[in-house]
Structures are given as structure tokens and as C-alpha cells.
Symmetry: D3
Subunit: 341 residues, 6 copies
């Protein structure tokens, strides 16, 4: 049989054209209420002169807002003449989740960021990640994926390094992430997870920058400011834009943290409401009490105390008070122990 | 390890027997409320003498009724002695969706017609398509799949040509589709979609006939009449039945249309109610206003107008007034530009 | 205890002001995701000089689109100087249902048109109907409520008379409805239902006009045209606008129909797909076969035939093919037997 | 007919006994999965000597955690010998919502705090509020209801005054609320809403104290500390406990704020993500830009700016970034203009 | 205003006619998918000669099958000539719940048996109970309502006495219930619940018989046999039918039990799986261990033991192993302490 | 590209340690409400001396309770010194389903026991089965998987033989299953299903024992007793524990039954309530009436009778009375015809 699992997606922009185009990636999708329609994913191409191609995405998770807002502004405000190279911007990559305000897609229930490298003939989320891996990454030099903590986590605003196999690639990533100039720079491997946008971008050889901008499912005033600056800083670093004097790196420090494996996480062991003892940013030690779970349906039962498993600083905490066993209550970051070459 | 992803489906009919049998394809399925039960898909075999084997299916989508009704009548009314060959009839192929009255399956959420060639150890929809590809197609010469527009589309009643790679196969399909004698004959490739019943039947070498019979999720009085006649016309064409004098081809014309790629579709760009300007069948031109989206929550905001992207006739329109970005509002068909050999 | 079940709703328009205001009726509503927010119901007031106050509503059911579209146009296009009197226009009265595209409200599951006279301290639908009965009706002289058949019914476009107790009031309603100049004029009492917007408007003494504009959940091209004209015709009849020469009554005929009680309805008796035998508008007789129910999961079982219970014309039919026992398959209208005074 | 809408609820504690009892209010409830079971609402009675009866409740909304945690601690830690009077404590009043972590009840979909005075034969939420009004309030002198902002709002921690009709009662409430010694004291009438726990407690004559402790659906470290102190402060003020030297009032200031009606709220006008311009606590003026709504599905469309309607301080803001029209984005508090007698 | 909350229900049978009629009670109901349809509740009238009118209902809860099956047989098998009087039989009173196989109605989420005396203009369940109280009960002398334990309870098959205020009425009920001749006869007041079919029938003066026939949501072979016999026994007792020699009372014993208030129930106190120690019918004592709750997510935690609160026999037990706090795990019945006059 | 679909799961126990450890298998899972959390699956390791490694699992389906209860007891009660070898116990393998009390997983909708051999980068159920196949089975000698009938089936308590390819392996399985000493021993191939835990354990070479312990979704008193004994019997047979004199095999008989293919099942053909004619354990013959389906919405329609397709004993029956076409109503077991070597 002749058959390929080929994509039926199509675009309303021309990747080869110069100037600014705002259009859409259309993925045909045939649910009950729209037999022959498409999912329209906003996509802009801004190109001028010679220079690298940079992909910028927001809205990989639908409840993380700083990325979509900052990239929408970039699309509306950037003068193509101000750049050398090409920007491919998808500010609301997971558009069904973005419009629903949920982390995971209401269409197929999947977490887009656990579907890479995707499947052009799979469900909608898998088709989105397949477009990124099969079409977008191969034409790009660098990738910036803007995340925040989402509805369930409140995280210290930070720029994220996705680990790379080769020392050269790792250093390239670290330099680009430091250029973002977030208050913190953190190496996050998600326990070695391979199915993310950044892990697959790194496998494709791209210089890759991630972020975690506050969270709690809200729009952070400070986080948004950091994100706006950081995107332009990275584009300057990559040579696409002129450095903006008013936006010169300010944090100076180049300390790099990491989430040191499973011991960095404090997971709930019971079903109740979690009371943390320390705000984000507090310096803590392994074995120190971290908080406790109150059993709301049985006020006579003593709360269950949780402890940190790692020395470091409190890097993130659960936003919802209600916890069930296994929920991530706290995350501790520690100095990066890897080789920065 | 020895293991095959093999099917546990079983049948209550004997494909080798002569006469009329009405039974079921049973697919073991083990949900919460029925650990050891099956999904019963109605299946009839009507066989007599020598002649081709024709598979006829309805209810691939559960909200398209002309096919299931016409095939149910065929099962009840056809005298086995009136045919030469074998009919394998599944009038409600996607039985869970048919009983729910929905396009997609309530069991696994999938659109059956995007699951071919299926998986015998996959979810229920995948098991149905695997049965068709692995068991049914290999024993058949021809395939008739009766679709209508469904809940979301109202389409001009037409017989559909699925493109084939070889000129001979394409001509074979076209002749069989023209024999159906619908008011229109249209080549539909669904933007090159490979995961449909007809695309996979063509890949299996079968002479293949599709339909789109009105729609709107209702039972069309005219569409039902066309469908009843068309099925018998095709069976005559294939040599299974005698031509019925009372049912001789009447439309005479052999003009063939096609959906000319993505430009044939008018997609919604906003969130509101779509007002079309022209009924189905109107001749229109690329660039001409096609309708407009009214913003129901903001009556002070002017509607957004949409335009046709292609010369042709209005072949289908969205049934629900409510639209969201990406929804298919209108479809334009144009004369087929391919080679009819 | 001192306590009244009082409303906390508030408006952003001034009913006493002259000119055109487009604002909202805000009903505080405190669900999980918006503790202190409101439901915003679009509302416009257009007032000039002396003349009657007329309330116009659309979107009582959220899947009936001609009313919201025609009233939105009226809001945007009407020059206040062109009227004498006051228009209070709520084009999307049941805004949560309108945005969901459903008949019933997604907020409380209720059919707004079965909640009158409402409850200012009840659920959201009850608060909407209470606003109409407690605040809007008392300041008005006339009421126009624009309905269509909705997702489940396809109805011949018609203007509707809500019966009144007094002969004078009934005659007043009939004259206003005839002024609408729809293809048909029908008295509909919904089997004596008292919980509708129009029944409660009549109880409040208002001259009342209803409509049923096609349906099937779609936007009818003809129905929309009839509706646009009809609204302006009624406003002329009421003395709010000058008659428009181009819009002079054209149907001339003043025949009035009615749904003659429960015998006018053909209800499904089984679970399957309903095949009607006649299109809307066909003249039929009591006892005549009306259609039949095909049992989709058992093609060997003979269909069940239904018959008309009343002489008349087929006034409406069910849009979805799928029926369950009790579903309304067909409606027959007959000449009005009441006294038109 | 003899029939009363009487309650079938029963208790496992004795309101007349001395000492500490931890039991439950049981409300028989007969859903699909538990025909003869009950809803168990934790309830403690701590009584000793002579003194007033104070009811303390938390978990009126299920996503507000400081109250349930602080009251659970009070139950476990308080020595009955340390009080004079009686405490009736329901730390998780709306237990189904508390266990679900939602504002509204998963059982009947109602917001408990919009069901007072309830109905002993109504749905579960109505039965809970009926128990409070019919059984609990009549045996009490004072009422403390501990709320937080919940999932949708982040509010400056404050103690809340529910307005009373009589000057004496109002003063009594104000004094008790000031004794709580929160950073802010605010009069909140919820636009005159009568269906709340505190409005009905005031109607029953009880000295009434409310709170809004931070929010965002999380457990606030500071808010929890304020809440723990505040409860003990109020109990001292009411004469039930000895004042604790270590907990003496510290805020000193007795400035009282209010939400000045509908102008105090900034509501969303569009569908997107809301970017606030100012953090909570900022002093702002009527007419000043407050934030803007970014349209996530259309990055080319300029954001819509919202403005404050009132001078004052930003008292609360929406937690989720995603907004739909009518959502409360910001709340402004202004100095209380009423008479404090 | 003239307005009554009147019913729009209508019947397809004539209560005054002689012979056997099988038709329906139709309650107009206007949901999203059927604007003008009805809910069809099967209803039969069998009448002959002179004698009392007896109402028989099954399917008050939709997961209790012995009643609907036995009453369906009675409708099909009973020769009208064999009776003196009139039977009004509704074997599937709560037809939406019956077709869903759930205790509560899928239409409005209500437990029909907690809605009496209903509301003719309320939700569907309320309209059903209003029909019973307003239309059916006033024309009847006796009422038989056939329940089983349902999905959540397995109960010893028994006939149930609903308490009556007057001694005469109570004795009348007891005699009719004893005539049913179930293995057990039990007085059940549901803790004084007034909103049931039988409580309202007693308030209407009818001789009233209830049952609890096994349960677990299944069809009990023995329970069905007892139920078939019992219905005919009661009809003989009431003088509607001749006593059937083959069906003469066999249990002889007239011991009457009761559920002795809240102490008769063993409620879950934790969240896990309940292991009972004794099968139904075991004689137990107050204070004796009854079973224990295993905490499935924490195998290291010791189970929590529950004890009986009452001497008696184990009358019923929870069917699902999974329990949450408040679920009814066991029910104990004890000898009736009331006056049997 | 370098990429493996590798697992991110981690454990809190050490498989190489001696003694008793109770911890968890943690599978990172990133849904909307817990971005960086895990699913915690309880897991215990009990090891001592030399001997085989045996894996014991319960809660493969979440509504089967005897296994989780018996294995929880084993974890709490077993003294490591009493064994020679290693036990790896997962009493609630499908923890999300166990906590929901459902057969299938509420997380991904899958039946865990149709996902083997799983996928370490798939959905949660697929990750669980991948852990078993990739990590657990390779370190084990034997596998005991404790099932019951679940919510939908009531089955005679039995120990189950999973067929093996080789005679030696089959005999090894049969001997271990007979050692369990259940009232019945049955060979169950699930129509050749390959995607189960036991089929994949056999493919991995493990001595494999299954069970079906009563069912109906309840905790069977007898079934629990059989299960407790059986587990210890099997461990003795495998040489891990000393035989317990008090628990010596009692059933003596070694008759082995099987489900003889699709003829062993009686499937529903209609939509109604199924009345069985015989209790479990009855001896029946092919062609004999087995029960009938009552059509609850049409009491005038005669029930449809079903017949047995096989001689044997009634081994299981459907628990819910409500049936739809294809549901398994009854299962017949017959003497095993295979070779027991």
C-alpha cells in the first residue's frame, strides 16, 4: 500500500517573504461540530535582510500568559526594518488550551509539551508538535519557548536551560539563556523528560531558551516586564536586533541553578490543604520541615508534616491549597553541578 | 516475546454462506459498565450465484442518516435471488456514534474516518477500521460508503470520487460514481487526507464510491430518495443486480466537480454568528463577499465580512449559526481539473 | 426578619436619557471562576421625542440567530432622530446560551423561556426573567420577542400571536403581529404554557409580538430578510417609526393559523432515526402516515410508522434525524378557530 | 394535608454539654451512589462556664483555606478550661466544595453563600444554610465567618463589616471587626446581596465578623498568621477568652474602607487575557487606566484598555489571566462614607 | 396578574374507560435537543366493574428493576375481566432515570423521591411528583410503590410500612403490607422524610404499600418472584382480584421490624474500601464491630473499625466497596416499637 | 536524533534491600492542576534470605476490592523473617481508578488491562503497564494478579489460569493456580486477548496466577477469605513461605474449567433490563432459555428471550439490571478441553 502519515496542515503566510505577515497555521480537524473546519493557530513571520531564523512560541500551555502577551506585542510593534534575519512567532501555539485557559488541550486531553516529536496523523496536539519538529525546527537556528508556572505552580521568574548532549551546544544554550537576563537562570531537565518542545528543539540542534515566568495562572506584572525585556535581549544576543541601551543586562550575576532530580521536589503524601512554611526564595536545608497537610474533613486529626529533601532555595510552590497524594507542593533549586564548559 | 496485536473480534454470520444473514460484528470491549461484553455492529451478508463482492457501509459518522436508512431497507427488502454476487452491508458501522447521534465516537472521542487503517489492538474506533482494512476489504471488489453532511454541514447531494493513483483505477471509480447518478459528482480529497475509509479502500484496490447526501444532521427527504436509487444504480453498474427500468439514469450530465484545495473553503475568522449571503448552488467568484460574522455579545461592533477564495458554486454551508475561528462556513466546488482518462 | 428577595442587577444605561446608548444589564453572578463578577447582557436604549416604549429581545434561546442579528443591526443603524418614542433592545437576552450556541443556559441548565416571571434572588435565568417582569415590562407599551426554531426544529417562518384574556388585548396583539407581515401568522399557546416571555408580557398588558423564523440552528437567509422587515413594520405599526415605502406590507393575506393542541404534534414512539414523508408546508390529514422511525441498531426490525393527528399543513419538523420516544417529529398547523373579534 | 418542610439532619454532638466535642452535622442525602447515606459536616462544640455563644465557620466556599486551617487548629489546641462561654465551630461548612477545592458545591452547583436563609427540604446547599439560620443562629450571640478571595480573586487581607440596619448593631459589628485587627477593615455589602451567611446572621441579630484573607485559591502564609491571631482577638473582645499579651492589637489604625458600589469594580469587556497595571494596594483615581485585555487568538488586534471607575486603593484583582466579558478584573476600596455612630 | 403554575401535561389514556389501555403520560419538556417534545411516561389503565382504584408504580428510582419488570408483566398479562375496580400502573415513573439506569434523574439531577408534592411548573422530576399528588392520588384508594435497594444498597427483600398519623390509617397500611407477604415487613420513616411518594400518598389518605426488593442495581431472581406474588396478594387483599390459591400467604409470621432512627445506620467515617464482617440477616448488638475501612492509597495505615449502634439484624449493606465519609455502610433493623393498634 | 521513549518514573524503595519497605512508584504526570507532580502508586518490598521474587498486584481495575484489601494486610502483617525470597507488592496498581472506584482509569479513560506491554512515554495507564513489563517482570519469577468481577459482573470465586505456549510453562501455571485452592479453577483466555497483565507476564516467562473473586463492585465476605488464604497458599507453593497448617488445601478437587470461546457468553440483543432465569452455579445446556430482556419504556412489548450457547455451569452474570445490545449478561464455564500435560 502507498500511504504516508502525512500532514494536511496549511499556512496563510509565506516563510520566504520579507516584511511582516500575520496569519495562521491551519490544521484541519473534524470534530462533531465542524466537519470540514480547521484549528487556526496564530502565526507571524517578520523577516528582513540576512540573519538567523528564530522561532518564538507562547501558549504551549494555555494558562501561562506572559509569553502570549509579550509575543503579541512583538508582532504588533516590531518594525521589520529593525531586524536582520527572520522571526517565526506563534504566540498561542496551543490555541485550544489558550482559549480555554487550561494547561492541557480541551480537544484531546493531552499536555502538548509531552507529545513531541508528535505525529502528523495523530490527534490535534500531536499534529501541532509534529508541525514544529517536521516543518518549523528544520528552518530555524534558534528557539525561544516562553512558559510560566501555570495554574498549579508559582515559580520565581527565571530563564531555563534545556540540557544538550554536546558541550558546544550546551554552552551555546547557556549563553543565550544568560542573555535573557532573568533574575534566575535554572537548568531544568524535568527528570530527563524527552517529550518537550525544548528537548526536541535541542535534539534538532537549535540554540534553545526557555522560561518560567511566575505563575499561579495569573498575569504577573513583574514577570511580564522581565519577559518583554528578555525576549529582546535574546534577539540582540542572536544578532537579530541591535542591543537596546535601555535594556542592557542588569542582573550581572551568572550563577546557574538546577532542579537536582527528584529530591528537589516536595510531594504531598496526603489528601487535604497544604500550608507552606516559607515563601519562594527562602534558603532551606534537606530534612527541614517544609509545610504540613491539614485534613479538612477531620479537624481532630493532626496535620502531616513534609520536609525538604535537598539544600537550596524554594524555587516554586503549589498555588492551589487543596492537595492530593503526589501533588508537587514545593520545588527546591540548588547550584548547578554540571559542567558549563 | 511472542505477541501480535491481534483482533479478538468475532462474527455471527458466515461470509461463505449463500442467502441472507443478518447478524453482527462483535468487538470485545471492556469499559467500566460491561467488563466482558462486546460492541455489536449490525452486519448483513446477502449472497447468491457468482459475481463481485460489494461492501456497503453507512453510519461511519453517527449523525448522517440517509446511508443507514437506505442500507437497512436494502437488508430487509432485497431478495437474495435478485443478485449475482455478494453484498456485505454494515448500515451503522460506527454504532456507538450512530446511537448517540454524533459524528465522533462517544467511546474514544475519535472520528472513525480519521483512524484508517486502524489497529486491531487499539481503541474501539481503531478496531473498527482495522476490521475493515484487515478483514473486509481483502474479500471485496467494490466499496460504497454513504456519507451525508452531518450536523455541521449542509451539502448539495452528490456522489463522491476518491482519487486513485492509477489512471485505470481512477476511471473505474469515476464510472461507478457516475452510475450512482446523483445530481452532482464531486472529487473530494479532503486536502490529501489518507486516514479515511475511501482512501484506504482505494489503496486496497477496490472500486470505490462515496456520497455526501445533504446534511444538517437531519433526514433529507430528497437526499434519501437519491440515495436509495443510487445504491441500486451502482449495484447494477457493478453487475450485481439487474438495472431497474424505473431507476434508469436521469441526470445525463457527466460534469465532474472538485473541491479545489484550501481556497475552496471559507473559514470563520471571528467568534459570533455567521450570516451567509447565498444559498447552496449559487455561482460565485473569488474575492466576492460570502457572508459576515455578527458579534453577538457586542452589538455595537460592526460584523466581519468574509470573501470567497475561489470561483465556483456554493457546494456546502455550515448548519449551526454559531461559529468560532477556523470553522468551515462555506465550501465552493469548481470544475474538476484533473485527468479523467 | 427584614429581608426581601431583591435584585443586585445594575445597568450602564439611563432609561430616561434621549439618544442612543449601547451598554449592558449586569447581573452579579458568583461562580467558581469569578467570585465578584457579573453576567453582561448587551442592552441598548434608543429614545427620541414622544411615543411608546417598545422592548425588543433576541437570543431568549441561544441557538436562534435571526433575532440577535436583526436587532444588532437595528442598534448600529438606527438614527435616534428617526423615531418617536423609546426602544429598549436586548439582542442577546440569554447571553450565556447565545455564546454557547445552546437553547438552554449553560449556567443553570434552565430554559429561560420556562422561568417567567422569574426570581430576583434565584438562579441566573430566573434573575433575567425577573428583570424583564419587574423592571422592563412595567415601563413599556409593547414587546417583540424574536424566536426561531432552534437546533431541534425547522419551522415555516411566521409571526406568532400570544393569546390574551381580553378581546381588546387579543385584537391589539393580532393587529401588531399582522403588521409584522410574515409569510404565516400563527397563534401558539404552547399547550397553555404560562412561563414564557410573551405569556408574561401579555399578563403585564403589553402589546406582544412573537416570531418563529425557520430554525435548524442555522442562520436562514430568507428568514433573516423577513425578520429585518418585520421588526421595522411593527415599529411603524406602533407609531415609533415612519412606514417605509420600500417595506410596505406585501403578503396581504390575513389568514391566521394555530397549533390545535396536542393533536397538532407528532411525537416519536421509538428510539431510532425519523424519516418524514412530507416537507414543511404540505397539506395533510388526520390519520395519514407522517413518517417512520428506523431502528438503526437492528436493521432486520421493520420501521414504526407514525400518523398525523390533525388536518392542516406541516408547520415544522424535527431537524436531528436521531429521535427518542417523546421527541417532537412534526407539527401541524390548522386555521385558527378562536374569535378574532 | 399535614406537612412541614422539615429537616432530617441530625448531630453527633450535644450543644448543652460542657467540654470539647468533635463530631458532625449529618445531613441525609440520597444520590445515585449512596441511597441512605449522609453528608458529614465536621462540627465541634467547646463549652465552659458562663459566657456568650460564638459560631465560627470556615469553608463556606471550598477554595478558601485559611479559615478551615485556623479553625481546625483551634479545635485541636483550645483547652475548654481557657474559655467562658461556648464555641460552635464548623471549619468546613460546605464540605463537598471543600473536598473538591471549588467555590461552589459539586453536589447541587450552588454557591452556598447565595442560598441563605436556605430550605430544610431543598438541595444540599439549601439544607446547610437552613441549618445555620434555623438551628445555629438562634442559639448564638456572635458569628465569625472566615472567607478568603478564593480561586478567582487575590484580595488584601482584611476583616469585613456586614452592614446592619440599626446603629447599635452596626457599631457592635464594627467594634468586633476592629478587634480582629486585620491590616484592613472593609465594609462589604456585595451590592446589597441578602443571601449571604453574614447578611442573614445580622438579620438574626448576631454580632457578625467576616474576613477576606488573600486568595488565589492558595494558602497564604501571612494571611494564615493574620487569621489565627484575628480569631483569638475577636474571642477576647467578646469575652470568651482572656486577651493574649503576645497578641495585643498592633495595627492601631481604625480607618475603615468600603467597596463603593458598582463603580468600585473594573469588569472585563472582552474575551482574552487581562494585564493589570498596578499591584494590590496601589492608590488609583477614577478614569485612570487600570489594565488591558490582550486578544490571544488575534495578536494583530490592539488590546482593549480598562479604566478605574473610582478613586481609592486597589483592593483585589483577578487571579486567572484568562477573562471573559463581565469578569471582575479589579476592585477598588475607598474610605467608608457611612456613619460609624 | 392572572397566572397559575398550571401543568401542561396530557395523557393518551382515558381514566374513565373500561378495559385495558396502554399509553403514556406526556410531560412537555423543552431542552436543547427537543424544543417542542415531551417526556413520555408509560401508563396503563385496566378497569372493570366496581371496586377500588389502585395506583401501582415502579421505577421511581431508575436502578431498581423488580418493580418495572413485575408491573410490565401485569400490564401485558392481566385480563381486565379478572378484576373489579381500576388499576393505574406506571411501571417506569421516572422514565429518564430508568433509561439511564440511575437512581436520580439525568434531566434535572433530582431524586424524584425527594420532590413530593412537586410543582406543576417546576423541573421535570417536580412535574412528575406534582402529577401524582395533584391528579393521580385524588382519584385513588390505594397506592403500591415498588422499590429495591438500588445501585448502592443490598437489602433483605421486604415490604415497607409508611407511618400514618391516625391509628386507623396506620392499621390499614399495616394490613395491606402484611398481605404483600414479603419475607420481612419493616416500618421505614427515612428519619421522618416527608418528600417521598409514600409519605405524600399517606398524607392524601391512601392505603399505602412500599417495598425494598434486594438491590445492588441488579435484577434479583428471588426478589422478582416475591415481588410478582406480592403485588397480586395486595390486589387480592384490596378486593380487586380474587385470591390465587397458588399464591396464598406463606410466611405466616407477622413480626414487624423498623429502622430505629439514626442509630440503625452505620456510616463511613473515612475514605477507602469498606469490609463488612457479617452478611445481611446476621443478628448483631450495639457496640459490636461491624466492619472496617481499608485505606487503599496507604497500605501501611491500619484500617478504621466501625461498630453497630443498635441491637437487631443486619438489614442492608452497601454494595460498592468504595466508601467516602458519610456513606451508609450498613443498616440494622429492630422490632417495631410503635403501636400496631 | 538521539531520543528514547524513556520513562521518568522513580521509586522510593530499594529493590535490593532486605526487610520491609513501604513506599511508592512515582510516575511524573503533568495535568492541568499539578504541573510538576506525580502519580503515587503504593509499592512494598519485603525481602529476606534466598528465594524467588514474586510480584503481587491488586487494583489493576479500580472496582475490584478483595485484592487490594488482602495485599494491604499482607504488607502490614507479614514479618520479613517469615519469608525466603522477595515480594514486590502493588496493592493498588491502578491507583487513579482505585480511588475513583472505577474499572477504567479516570486519567486517560483506558482499561489498564488492555494496555500491556505499555509505553514508557505514553499516557498514564500505558506508563504503568510499561513499568510492569520493562522493570518489574524482568526481576521476578512469579506473578499473582488479584482480580474480582468488578462493578458489572458477579462471578463465582475462582483462581485463573492464563494459557502458556509451552507445556512446561502451562503446567507450572496450573500447579500454582491449583495451590491457590479457590472453589473453582478456570482457564480464561479472554478470546485470545494479548494486552493483559497476565498474558504479558506469561510472555515474560513468569509463573502466573490470576483470580476472579466474586464481584458486583462490592467487598465479598467469602471472597475476601478465599483470597487471603489463596495468596498465602501460593506463596507456600512457590517456596517463599512455610505452609500454614491451618491453611492446608481443602478443596481437594482438581477439576479445571474454561470459558469455551464466544459461545460461552450470552450477550444482550436489546435495550432494557435483563432478567436471568438461573443463579450462578446452575448447570445449563446449549439452547436452553437463559433469561429475557424487558423493554422498560414500552411495557406492552413482549420481552426478548436469550438462550445459552454452551453446556456448562453459569459462571458469572451481569450485575446491573440495565442492559444495552452487546452487554455480557451471562457467562458459562465448561470443563477444560486442553491438555494439562
Amino acid at each position: 500500500m502507498w500511504m504516508a502519515r502525512r500532514s494536511t496542515a496549511f499556512l496563510t503566510v509565506d516563510f520566504a517573504a520579507t516584511g511582516k505577515q500575520v496569519g495562521a497555521l491551519n490544521i484541519p480537524h473534524s470534530p462533531h461540530d465542524d466537519a470540514w473546519g480547521t484549528t487556526r493557530i496564530p502565526l507571524a513571520v517578520i523577516a528582513n535582510g540576512k540573519g538567523p531564523t528564530v522561532i518564538l512560541t507562547g501558549g504551549n500551555h494555555g494558562d501561562e500568559y506572559e509569553g502570549p502577551i509579550a509575543l503579541g506585542e512583538l508582532i504588533r510593534e516590531l518594525d521589520p526594518g529593525a531586524i536582520q534575519g527572520r522571526l517565526i512567532i506563534l504566540p498561542a501555539l496551543n490555541i485550544p488550551a489558550v482559549m480555554a485557559g487550561t494547561r492541557t488541550s480541551p480537544v484531546d486531553g493531552l499536555n502538548l509539551n509531552r507529545t513531541y516529536p508528535g505525529d502528523p496523523a495523530g490527534s490535534l496536539s500531536q499534529q501541532i508538535s509534529a508541525f514544529m519538529c517536521d516543518v518549523a525546527y528544520p528552518m530555524a537556528d534558534a528557539f525561544v519557548d516562553l512558559h510560566s508556572g501555570g495554574s498549579s505552580l508559582d515559580i520565581l521568574p527565571s530563564a531555563i536551560v534545556e540540557p544538550a548532549e554536546s558541550a558546544e551546544h550546551h554552552r551555546r544554550n547557556v549563553e543565550a539563556v544568560l542573555a535573557f537576563d532573568a533574575p534566575l537562570t535554572v537548568v531544568v531537565s524535568n527528570l530527563g523528560e524527552t517529550r518537550t518542545s525544548t528537548a526536541s528543539a535541542v535534539r534538532a540542534g537549535l540554540t534553545t531558551v526557555g522560561t518560567e515566568m511566575a505563575g499561579g495562572g495569573t498575569v504577573g506584572i513583574d514577570a511580564l516586564r522581565i519577559c518583554r525585556r528578555g525576549v529582546r535581549n535574546v534577539l540582540s544576543h542572536l544578532g537579530v536586533m541591535e542591543p537596546d541601551g535601555a535594556q542592557a543586562p542588569s542582573h550581572g550575576e551568572r550563577t546557574i541553578l538546577e532542579i537536582p532530580g527528584e529530591k528537589g521536589y516536595v510531594f504531598a503524601t496526603g489528601d487535604g490543604a497544604f500550608e507552606p512554611y516559607h515563601p519562594n526564595g527562602t534558603r532551606v536545608s534537606a530534612g527541614q520541615p517544609a509545610g504540613r497537610i491539614h485534613f479538612l474533613d477531620d479537624p481532630a486529626r493532626a496535620p502531616a508534616e513534609l520536609t525538604y529533601g535537598q539544600d537550596g532555595i524554594v524555587y516554586g510552590r503549589r498555588q492551589p491549597g487543596r492537595v492530593r497524594p503526589g501533588n508537587c507542593c514545593l520545588v527546591v533549586a540548588a547550584p548547578f553541578r554540571g559542567d558549563l564548559a
